[in-house]
Symmetry: C2
Subunit: 144 residues, 2 copies
DNA sequence: GCACACCTTCGAGTTGACTCGAAGTCAAGC
DNA sequence: GCTTGACTTCGAGTCAACTCGAAGGTGTGC
């Protein structure tokens, strides 16, 4: 591919950008349609991407990693007023910190499961305990 | 609700268990059908749950929090041979540790976004940098 | 000037995880 | 015996986020 019709700051077609980023071209088109990662357009309507689009793509990926919906990603990246975005971020932060805590418990469980000899999970007190009573918190279950 | 027809170790109907755990009754039925959280059955076919089902439910929730598919949850909880489960856990662990790292970066970004005055994300170097170059790792983007 | 690769849009299909509705069963209370 | 309400199954519907296919436009090489 000789990158036909190269525009100075927009060197990549959708296929080239897909190859470069690992995001399928179909998905890039979808993200463009949904406003998640708007493409630049040539006169003929073809999409073009440039280096400036890379950080935004990485932000989209990160937000998805946070479990954000596409609406939330748009809110973070394009909130018309910064206050709304800041509010969203402030609300999301404790959730993310909670997720980190959950993942730490999960990592402990996985470390044990990787060496556990029990045939069924329920019979192994070691990993049940870590699930039910994460350190530094109350019991994992709402008591009835 | 007087918990009709109470069985010694299986005090809860699907509705009672739903109320107790916060998982909708429809979802409990679905999890039963899919083998994620098998219910005990009375002679009349009605589902019943007991205290022993709580840890497993909590495990299911945790696995879902890890982003596991239902197949993976089943694998963790019911792998016929412990070796397969241990292998899965060993493979999953680095992924979970990576997710923790990602979330830590995300938390930093959120902390900044919560106080950032920039109208659009791309113009704010502070949070772009943290996304693109998480500390202690290479650049967030695959270089072309 | 035509093949061919790549692009476009649009609508429909897929996947995973639910969620709902209909039709029927079961048991307690009057 | 009949109502009432909670239960059953089964099939279909929903939702987000893609993913695919068809029909047609564009542009470069021979």
């Amino acid at each position: 591919m000789t990158e036909p019709d190269a525009v100075p700051d927009l060197p990549w077609t959708v296929a080239a950008f897909a190859a470069r980023t690992g995001v399928p071209a179909t998905t890039l088109r979808y993200w463009d349609d949904e406003g998640l990662l708007p493409a630049h357009r040539l006169d003929n309507g073809h999409r073009r991407y440039g280096p400036d689009d890379l950080p935004r793509l990485e932000m989209v990926r990160m937000c998805q990693g946070l479990g954000c919906t596409m609406d939330e990603v748009r809110l973070v990246l394009d909130a018309p007023d910064p206050a709304a975005r800041a509010r969203f971020a402030a609300e999301k932060l404790p959730e993310v910190l909670g997720r980190i805590e959950l993942l730490r418990v999960a990592a402990d469980v996985l470390r044990h499961v990787a060496v556990c000899e029990h045939t069924d999970a329920a019979s192994c007190g070691a990993w049940m305990r870590s699930v039910l009573e994460p350190p530094g918190e109350g019991p994992g279950l709402r008591a009835g």
